[in-house]
């Protein structure tokens, strides 16, 4: 497929991203660059200095709501991109409404509890909708253990092992690898 052929398919598609942190902000940036028709992103958080080691934000944006800053940054890549943001904490009650029209949903949360909530909600509300999750990306090195594996309509990206801690922090290279692997998986789903 030529890039024009790829783009002409992707421009008709909508992707939902739950969370605009390390996974969500970088995944969204890749998806905007390839020309996804519409991206819907939800996050309630505020940008902190500690986010800048991996998230697609800038020093001048510290203190801003991520929902506002991510839209600003994505529109710098492509001013014509359709970006819908929700400055809200995602719950089983609002997920069905916010992501209803998405062809694919990307799970891009930080905490395991939130991942669990989103996966359970999406798989119960839309058993057929593809869901791409990020699982295991802490630390550095060990590139070859980052992989994608599929369980029905659930696509799992990451090493599935490395949990974040003070001694195993999430930092740009591996978080970016998983975020881009999620974006790559979205393309695989939408283009096949």
């Amino acid at each position: 497929m030529t890039f024009n052929e790829i783009r002409s398919i992707l421009t008709t598609k909508t992707v939902g991203i739950a969370g605009a942190g390390g996974l969500g902000s970088n995944c969204a940036s890749a998806l905007v660059r390839v020309g996804i028709g519409k991206i819907i992103i939800a996050d309630f958080d505020i940008i902190e200095e500690s986010n800048l080691n991996r998230q697609f934000y800038f020093k001048s944006q510290i203190g801003m709501k991520k929902a506002i800053a991510i839209k600003e940054n994505l529109l710098l890549i492509n001013p014509d991109a359709q970006i819908e943001t929700h400055d809200t904490f995602l719950t089983p009650e609002n997920i069905p409404e916010i992501f209803n029209n998405c062809d694919v949903i990307v799970e891009a949360f930080d905490k395991a509890e939130q991942k669990q909530m989103l996966i359970e909600t999406v798989l119960s509300v839309w058993p057929e909708k593809p869901l791409v999750i990020g699982l295991g990306m802490a630390g550095f090195g060990d590139s070859n253990n980052i992989k994608m594996h599929r369980e029905g309509n659930l696509f799992i990206c990451g090493d599935e092992l490395s949990e974040i801690s003070d001694l195993n922090p999430p930092i740009a290279p591996r978080v970016g690898m998983v975020a881009n692997m999620q974006a790559n998986t979205v393309l695989e789903i939408l283009l096949n």
Partner: protein
């Protein structure tokens, strides 16, 4: 019974068991899990009464923080 658990064949003495029993036998003590039986989600509140039978394909995904 024989089931496929996370892509591996496993044999158990019992003819069937609940998801909770499986998690206990396998010592899957993680708090945050996603369980599917034959590609159908089993919600956490249903672990104690959802039954796994011979031939079932079971996925137990351990959710870890990071993102």
């Amino acid at each position: 019974m024989e089931i496929t658990l996370n892509n591996r064949i496993e044999t158990f003495d019992a003819d069937e068991m609940t998801v909770s029993e499986l998690l206990e036998i396998k010592k899957f003590t993680f708090k945050m899990l996603i369980v599917k039986i034959n590609n159908q989600l089993v919600k956490r509140e249903d672990f104690s009464h959802s039954v796994i039978k011979d031939g079932d394909i079971v996925m137990v995904l351990h959710l870890i923080s990071g993102g």
